[in-house]
């Protein structure tokens, strides 16, 4: 089986020997990376190879293997977003190990090829192009912040491959890629919350605290920051409408060493609330300097940097009481359409199979494959990408991420190609089993239109203790 040695994720073998194969992929990927840095793409091609995958077995009604590409930030500053991705690929493989019966009446084996973006948007685009042109994938999947999702979606659009994504606020996804609400995109479909949701969740948490409603806002000069800070489609007008004053720290460069000017500004303006969106290393830097310089907001609620336990562990003891958006938890009342697993069961499976790691929100990436499988089941001709695309377009299903459909119209589909999903507010507290536990402290927004999902809270918002 030549293909088995080359790609990491043929469906049949994944379940039997996941570790060796993943280790191999890792080594191969690193070799590719080392070569890639000096010699262009040669290394990556060598690592992933050209795979015809034609060995998946014969039999009556057996269709050709369908290849699904998945781009993930497995290394680099965004590696925390890709933490569960390798594991998810093996879970997906197990869930469809007998193949999927597509709309053409044949059972097609599914092969998932995962590639590392190294947290770099240029590289994400390169490996996405690679998946299409060299691996010949039928469907693309991607998740993990605008820096990964947008370049991959753009490639899919340009190369005319259907692409399903989540884990990227929809405004940076849509407007950041130059989307026109009247037209939309052709090949790319996305399910995640938007800035209106994160604003509602953030203000919902702040409203429970006694503050002067002044926000010191840190929005960086990257795809996420520009989307969040957009004076028309971003957070500023929404926060103003909610009765909050924004003191803008300016579009700082990711990787900035010193935040004195911003911290001084927030101190001088007496901002009780710190908000914004950071890449994790930058927030660690900012928050340490805030302590050093005596800036002590009542609440610090930032996007992207406080999502996962590993990020909080890097911050250390000054991380307790920080608040964040939470897009997925074991307490969300959703089920996998592939296996019937509940969110809690998926989280438990991750913990037991990862050697005791705490659950984290990236398990939400699970849903992109649910959408793909559901669409394939309705695809009458797998050789025609347009037919696969039409099936994706017609999606209307319940996933581990909640309801996903692209044909319900506003407000669930605020623009074409985008489906909003639930968002709640979480706060980091000292855990019993782990150093940090994320408690759900505000779930009001999820219970409202258009979501109508009741999620129980298991904590209350408290001011940060200094």
């Amino acid at each position: 089986m030549s293909s088995e040695d080359k790609t990491g994720t043929g469906t049949e073998s994944v379940a039997k020997t996941p570790l060796t194969r993943r280790d191999f992929l890792k080594t191969a990927g690193i070799t590719g990376l080392a070569l890639g840095a000096t010699g262009g793409l040669g290394g990556v091609l060598a690592a992933c190879g050209d795979d015809d995958g034609g060995d998946a077995g014969g039999g009556e009604g057996q269709g050709r293997p369908i290849k699904v590409g998945f781009v993930a930030p497995l290394t680099g500053p965004l590696a925390a977003f890709g933490e569960t991705d390798q594991w998810l690929v093996t879970k997906w493989g197990e869930a469809v190990k007998d193949g999927v019966e597509c709309g053409d009446g044949q059972v097609h084996p599914i092969e998932i090829i995962i590639k590392d973006s190294q947290s770099d948007s240029n590289r994400a685009a390169t490996v996405a192009g690679d998946l299409v042109t060299n691996d010949g994938i039928d469907v693309m999947m991607v998740a993990s912040t605008p820096d990964t999702v947008s370049p991959v979606a753009d490639q899919a659009e340009a190369l005319q491959v259907p692409c399903v994504s989540n884990d990227c606020p929809w405004q940076p996804y849509f407007f950041g890629r130059g989307g026109d609400p009247a037209v939309g995109f052709t090949w790319t479909y996305h399910a995640f919350w938007g800035l209106e949701d994160v604003t509602a969740v953030f203000t919902g948490m702040w409203d429970q605290l006694d503050t002067n409603k002044k926000i010191g806002a840190m929005w960086p000069n990257d795809a996420d920051g520009l989307g969040w800070a957009d004076p028309k489609t971003g957070q500023p007008p929404m926060l103003k409408e909610a009765g909050y004053t924004v003191v803008d720290g300016g579009r700082f460069q990711p990787g900035t060493e010193d935040y004195t000017p911003q911290i001084s500004k927030f101190k001088a303006a007496d901002c009780d609330i710190l908000s914004g969106v950071f890449i994790p290393p930058d927030f660690v830097n900012f928050w340490k300097q805030s302590y050093q310089q005596g800036y002590q907001p009542v609440a610090a609620t930032v996007g992207k940097a406080l999502l996962f336990p590993a990020q909080l562990e890097a911050i250390g003891e000054i991380g307790y009481g920080l608040t964040t958006e939470c897009w997925w938890s074991p307490w969300h009342p959703f089920k996998s359409s592939l296996t019937g697993q509940t969110c809690q069961e998926l989280a438990d499976a991750w913990t037991s199979e990862s050697g005791g790691k705490e659950w984290n929100q990236t398990l939400l990436h699970y849903a992109v494959f649910e959408v793909v499988v559901d669409a394939l089941k309705r695809t009458t001709d797998v050789d025609d990408k347009q037919v696969i695309l039409d099936a994706i377009k017609a999606t209307d299903m319940e996933t581990i991420q909640g309801k996903i459909t692209w044909s319900a119209g506003a407000p669930l589909n605020p623009v074409p190609n985008v489906c909003r999903t639930v968002l709640v507010g979480g706060m980091w507290t000292k855990g019993e089993e782990y150093p940090f536990d994320l408690l759900l402290v505000d779930t009001q927004h999820a219970a409202e239109e258009p979501f109508n999902v009741e999620i129980p809270t298991n904590g209350t918002v408290e001011p940060i203790k200094y």
């Binding site: 000096t38 700082f252 000017p261 911003q262 001084s264």
Partner: protein, 290 residues
Amino acid sequence: MTWANVVIQGILLGGLYALFATGLALVFGVMRMVNLAHGDLGILAAFVALFIVQSLGLPLGWATALTIAIMFLVGYALQRGLLNFTLGTDDTRPIVVTFGLSIIIQNALIMKFSADSQGLDAGRIENISIKVSEQLSVGWFPLIVFVIAIAVIAALEVFLARARLGRAFRATSDDREAAELMGINNRHIYSLAMAIALAIVAVAGILLAVRTTFDPTQGSFRLIYAFEAVIMGGMGSMWGTLAGGIILGVAQTVGTQAFGAGWGLVVGHLVFLTVLAVRPSGFLAKTVTA
């Protein structure tokens, strides 16, 4: 008071830049060699310390001491075994070789440690500060970094001025052939200079790693700042390097305060270019080339 705070934080940041630049200035001063792998060697030191802390379980203090010793030996071996052969009439050879070295170090680090961001934890000292007034607090850790930078540079200056070996450094720098005639082994002297340079950059790398997070590709940014500090201060002058580092740090923080976020780095580079145009030899240049 806000401005005073911005300037003070910039000065403290400049201390770290200067510490990164000192080894570069020393190597250039002694053997007229531009080491393009200098920044990567600093990051390498941070990873060595991380490795010692994580796999040997030693506390950060011991790891730092051990890392400095390791980098000293690496420096000596590197110069004696490789870089000495590149020195001679052609100035471009060491540049090409150290550029290659920089790429090798980066990729070796990625292979061993992946591209993930890492951090070294020094505990509470990272978060506490001296409060001078409502708008002015000085963090203990940045202050300690700055004091270490001054101490290292002062010690190096005294060493170069007074110690027998330091005099040999200067003699070799002034006239290689004459020094050789006086019984100085140039190759040994060069190797010791590189060893000291890497011991210093090891300190800088570890302090950087505690201050913020680091990853294998950060070396080249460090090199740019270090170069700017060295050139602004004057090639070969240690105190000049400190001055250059401080100017760069202050330009970055004041630039951000004055023109908004995103402008800090630009203003830093603009100040550097201005100095280069107006005073190409730097502020405190000691060595005269050609």
